[in-house]
């Protein structure tokens, strides 16, 4: 049976791939095409520096600063860069706002486009065939897979990232957070809530 697209971490099946990638790196270094130190820095960047905490800070700022929120919805690339997040796979950002009647969800049916500077690398499920195939046709069913049931009259708006525009969902600020600091609010902002497959944590779950 073929390995399942959404179970790529079954290591036993992948030893051949592991060896091939190692061989590939050896050849590329030997030919002088890549600098091994550059590889290490690339990995460290996406493993430790760039991740969904960036996006959470953007969201928390929008929840606490109306001027920033306005800027974010009008010129997300600029507003996000003002916090220091920019560059590869986030060159052209658009932020879409959830409201009581509208829930946004982001997908890339054709590959795995994702706003790296604010969310880091996409999770396996985001790149998987189940998500990519169903998000545009059955977003409510996909939300169920994440344990979320929205009222049927809430419109679900799916953004298929077919170009270089990268979308970030601005979730609704949870009730019961009046007076919270930006830092504390950011702890409520989950990665999935910024993709649209989740909701922010509730204050009591912090």
């Amino acid at each position: 049976m073929a390995p399942d697209l959404h179970h790529p971490h079954d290591h036993s099946e992948l030893s051949e791939t592991e060896l091939r990638v190692r061989a590939l790196e050896t050849v590329l270094v030997e030919k002088g095409y890549v600098d091994p130190k550059a590889l290490d820095i690339l990995i460290d960047t996406y493993e430790t520096k760039i991740g969904p905490r960036n996006g959470a800070r953007v969201v928390a700022r929008a929840w606490t600063d109306p001027g920033f929120k306005q800027w974010l919805l009008k010129d997300a690339t600029g507003a996000i860069a003002s916090l220091g997040y920019q560059g590869r796979q986030g060159e052209h950002m658009v932020v879409v706002e959830n409201t009581p009647g509208l829930h946004n969800m982001v997908v890339c049916t054709l590959c795995s486009c994702y706003p790296w500077p604010v969310l880091g690398l996409p999770p396996v499920w985001y790149k998987s065939a189940p998500y990519r195939s169903r998000a545009v046709a059955d977003p409510r069913g996909v939300l169920k897979d994440f344990g979320i049931a929205l009222p049927p009259d809430v419109e679900i708006r799916v953004w298929d990232s077919t170009a270089e525009i990268r979308y970030l969902v601005l979730p609704m600020r949870p009730a019961g957070t009046d007076g919270w600091s930006e830092e504390k609010l950011a702890m409520l902002v989950t990665r999935d809530s910024m993709i649209g497959t989740g909701l922010p944590k509730r204050p009591q779950n912090l």
Partner: protein
């Protein structure tokens, strides 16, 4: 191309399986696969659209059986082989069998941060006016190019509304085949779920794609 990558609306892949506390990588080789792919763009000289085209032109059964980083590696091998940079027998052997090709540039460790922060913006100065404006009704054309395109099958032939004009961007259909950036106006086009999936669909869903002007005609 109508390849396996164009899976919007397909059935049979099963449920989405979220992974609690998912780490950025699930194996050491995935880290190397990511880094090698990013680092090889400079010496390889290909653009993002060529990378996507290389991945999606894998045989569909292979595309659907591989994990995502396996697809990346397969795409990278193809791009390198096409340019004579690394041939498959060298990877089989685990050492260089042929002299290196002259490459335009490589990614130095000291440049990584700046390169990532710069990214690769796709927006270009427009030279013509946009044909459509917000709220215009447009039809996604019924096209089936055998080369790279970013108009998914599930919207072709369907009528939607221009929701936003996103500026003028590099056109993937030409950029992927080495025929130039050929910038075109880009629009976010919103479709009702029932327009895409029929009367039985959820009436409270709407789906948008970002579509370049050559993909669209007035409806």
């Amino acid at each position: 191309m109508n390849g396996a990558q164009d899976m919007g609306g397909m059935h049979g892949f099963g449920p989405v399986r979220p992974e609690p506390d998912e780490p950025p990588f699930h194996a050491e080789w995935e880290k190397r696969a990511l880094a090698l792919t990013l680092a090889m763009a400079a010496p390889g000289g290909w653009n993002l659209d060529m990378s996507r085209a290389a991945r999606e032109s894998l045989p569909p059964g292979e595309y659907l059986s591989k994990s995502y980083y396996e697809i990346w590696i397969a795409g990278l091998e193809k791009l390198m082989a096409e340019r004579g940079l690394v041939l498959p027998d060298e990877i089989d052997a685990g050492r260089a069998l042929y002299p290196p090709r002259a490459v335009p540039r490589t990614l130095a460790a000291g440049d990584v941060e700046a390169v990532l922060r710069r990214g690769g913006p796709s927006e270009r100065e427009p030279t013509v006016a946009a044909r459509f404006k917000a709220d215009d009704r447009v039809r996604a054309k019924n096209i089936h190019p055998r080369t790279h395109t970013r108009l998914p099958r599930y919207v072709r032939g369907h009528v939607g509304t221009i929701e936003a004009v996103r500026g003028c961007h590099v056109f993937p259909d030409t950029n992927a085949i080495g025929a130039g950036e050929n910038p075109q106006w880009l629009y976010t086009v919103r479709f009702a779920g029932t327009e895409l999936w029929g009367d039985a669909a959820d009436p409270a869903i709407a789906v948008s794609v970002d579509a370049w002007e050559p993909y669209l005609e007035p409806a």
